[in-house]
Symmetry: C2
Subunit: 328 residues, 2 copies
């Protein structure tokens, strides 16, 4: 079921629609503006995840507001009318110029990173929010907050965003006053309380890489335990199902932007679980789309129900690979 | 609701029974044999968690099988007829003499530790299992495996245990052939698939400290994020409820041995959630027992239902503290 790129060019201009007419939105993950032409060529319906870390890293000082506005504006304009989902800074302070010394964190993955860092370094955070808002005047932008674990963090983000909006309005800057905000669901806590979080935002985006790591308490960069990182672990499937069901009940769009979205092995699973928006590196869009266009959604739902009957990742992986090899 | 020790001596000889006759088993967490007299004095019904790390640490070489047998036997004999729950080694190799170099682990809490380490260092692990089994001839021992995330790990442990039993039988050693085995539920994955894991074991023990940390992706030893460690976070309460319900449906006893068990603030919550066996440092037993003896279990269940209606840890903490101050 993995095709060569040249076999897939046919799919670039087509919708990602199942045989029974269910539409999936396929977007691109990007890190730098240079990836935009590839995303456009591959038919991405916008950017589902713009990682802004690149702007901040490997430099002497943090990027100025104007510099960020330019970076965001360029991408937003080229993607219009599709949305560009800008994720706020998703690193720990150890990766940046910072007054907070984080070199002594015993477990940085469970430390002061992502939204925790932004909410501590409020000035830095407000500059980024100002830049995103100012850029939002040039097309359709969305804001995505990483590593949320509870409602309190979302409320802090929204308060800061409103403060920034007032400032910009007073200063006479144009911006999208109704800019959509979303959160990453990538901690087990967020998966467990998705419906509480969903009430506070316009969209959700599941970060499967981190969600799997925290669920299984496995740092997959650690060679000694990488074997435990299993996307089809029954606990992971259950967490994903809980998230999708809670999002549907709340009437909020749920996306996925982890590596699972780009791997055609998981396409039927994600379709069956009910993800609305999938974001991946652009070169993978066509092969995922090709599979989506060849199935009825209830078939995928049936397959997922079958996977839930299996008690381990290896069994689920065998069942899934068998199905994929048989059909595609 | 926190009493002085001398006011509580009255409760030492009494059962931990609710006004409607529901019995809770209160056991002691211990680390060294010197804690046994305190546990006995405080009326602990056995040891719910014997941390064996102390035997292994701050020394030049790992403890011999005979040395371990002696250490376990001493505690098992003094606790008889109550059980002593011996948790197998729960550290990373960085704390031990080991051939595996773990000094480069970026996130040791998500690395090669606890059961992962034991399953890699099988010789070390088998020596510990042999020692526990040999000591089990002298009273009632139970084996507890830490940091389980899936059925495969339990099966590996059981296979090794059976291998060791065969060896011991051939060598003519006495041991409890029906020794009970249990697992720690302390990863989000284990909480999500408790009913799959429960089928494989005789009992479960929830480690709230780690469960909370992994759920929230928070290292509570990290001063920058310790504020996010919230035992009453709605996600934590949900995880605990999922575990208790799954254990009840599987007909398996579910215990708790994290710090929540020892804090009287949480006594009504844990009673309402349905934990059967609570293990804590012995000096806390009487104050927890005092509360249990003054309530009807349905009251606690009602309180838990109310906490589940609240959307954040601070709200739940206020509601709970109000109730505790009003009643005790
Ligand atoms: Mg992440
Ligand atoms: Mg632990």
């Amino acid at each position: 079921y993995e095709y060569q790129a040249e076999e897939l060019t046919y799919f670039r201009g087509l919708d990602a629609v199942t045989l029974d007419g269910h539409n999936i939105i396929l977007r691109s993950n990007i890190e730098i503006a240079e990836e935009v032409p590839i995303a456009l060529r591959e038919g991405a319906q916008g950017v589902g995840l713009f990682r802004t870390e690149f702007l901040y890293m490997k430099r002497k000082c943090v990027p100025s507001e104007d510099e960020q506005v330019e970076a965001y504006r360029e991408i937003i304009e080229s993607m219009a009318p599709h949305p560009v989902t800008i994720r706020t800074l998703d690193v720990g302070g150890d990766k940046l110029v910072s007054d907070i010394d984080l070199s002594d964190e015993a477990n940085p993955a469970m430390g002061l990173r992502a939204i925790r860092f932004s909410l501590k370094e409020k000035i830095l955070f407000k500059v980024q929010l100002r830049a995103i808002l100012r850029a939002s005047a040039h097309g359709k932008a969305r804001i995505l907050f990483p590593m949320i674990t509870g409602v309190a963090e979302i409320k802090s983000c929204k308060n800061l965003l409103n403060e920034v909006k007032r400032e910009l309005a007073e200063e006479g800057h144009a911006f999208d006053a109704d800019i959509e905000i979303g959160i990453m669901i990538e901690t087990p806590a967020a998966a467990l309380v998705t419906e509480l979080l969903a009430r506070e935002v316009d969209f959700l985006s599941v970060g499967t890489n981190d969600l799997i790591q925290y669920c299984l308490a496995v740092d997959r960069g650690n060679e000694h335990v990488a074997y435990l990182y299993e996307p089809l672990h029954p606990a992971v499937l259950r967490a994903l199902r809980m998230i999708c069901r809670a999002a549907q009940q709340a009437g909020v769009m749920v996306g996925i932007c982890g590596e699972m979205a780009a791997d055609p092995l998981y396409t039927l699973v994600l379709l069956g679980l009910g993800f609305d928006e999938w974001s991946m590196n652009a070169p993978f869009i066509s092969q995922v789309k090709r599979i989506i266009r060849q199935v009825y959604r209830p078939e995928a739902e049936q397959l997922v129900a079958e996977l839930f009957e299996l008690g381990s990742a290896p069994e689920a992986a065998r069942r899934l690979a068998g199905e994929m090899n048989r059909r595609f």
